[in-house]
């Protein structure tokens, strides 16, 4: 069994991604210098540089896919956690604390659930002022019999 989770970035999320890279490296030129100096010594620099450069082009789309070839995801999924994904897909919330209040659930349980979802990339955090806003970029989840060939 194989699970595929598709995530796509809106224009705002692409801008947020560019801002994240700016916070991390200050400028594309700065990253370019690091990348030229160290090359594959730090593969993260190379990938970040290529992504940032592409994001600066017009009409660039960014899509992410998570493929789970093992059944680990089913052990961590529960109706409550699915409810969090569902809720975040259609609501904007300020923090885990706010999310817990909105779902009328205990903060500690919601915190643990969000952290477990984050581990698999199902929930992410956006820093906004002092808040860490939980969001999800999930567009589609599909489960299918394992295919021998790779996915594109």
């Amino acid at each position: 069994m194989q699970t595929e989770i598709l995530k796509s970035y809106s224009k705002e999320q692409i801008e947020a991604e560019k801002k994240r890279l700016e916070r991390k490296y200050e400028s594309l030129e700065n990253l370019h210098q690091k990348f030229q100096f160290i090359k594959c010594g730090n593969p993260e620099y190379v990938d970040d540089y290529m992504v940032w450069k592409a994001l600066n082009e017009e009409e660039t789309s960014l899509k992410e896919k998570i493929v789970l070839k093992n059944l680990g995801i089913y052990q961590m999924m529960s109706p409550k956690r699915m409810e969090i994904i569902d809720y975040l897909s259609s609501h904007s919330t300020k923090s885990i604390k706010t999310l817990a209040m909105e779902l009328k659930r205990d903060y500690k349980n919601v915190y643990d659930d969000v952290k477990a979802l984050e581990k698999f990339g199902l929930v992410e955090f956006v820093i906004q002022g002092k808040n860490k806003r939980p969001i999800t970029k999930i567009e589609h989840i599909s489960v299918q019999p394992d295919r021998k060939s790779a996915q594109k």
């Binding site: 594959c40 290529m50 660039t60 990339g121 996915q151 594109k152």
Partner: protein, 100 residues
């Protein structure tokens, strides 16, 4: 331009991280990184294929993330790499992957 990122979970502590940047239907840049979970939970690259500077090659890293080997290889596709990683998994750490 289309940026595609993928994380393929092979096992709970083994992943294949994929980055493909496509322009006009052609992959301009790719990187396929087989990573394992290190102490403290961070993902450590073991073997990585990419075509930066239009030079397809394969890199091998040690447990401290230091680049220990780099060899040229022909252009790779995700299909090939996914198959290789699925078959050899941790054995990739000691294999001559440029020959595969």
């Amino acid at each position: 331009m289309d940026i595609r990122k993928q994380r393929i979970w092979i096992h709970k502590d083994e992943i294949l991280d994929v980055l493909e940047i496509e322009k006009d239907g052609k992959i301009k840049y790719y990187s396929y990184s087989y990573k394992i979970k290190g102490k403290g939970g961070a993902w450590i690259p073991v073997v990585r294929w990419d075509n930066v500077d239009q030079t397809p090659h394969v890199d091998r890293y040690d447990e401290n993330r230091a680049l220990v080997e780099q060899k040229p290889c022909r252009e790779k596709s995700l299909k090939e790499i996914s198959k290789l990683v699925g078959i050899f998994r941790r054995n990739l750490m000691t294999m001559d992957v440029s020959e595969l």
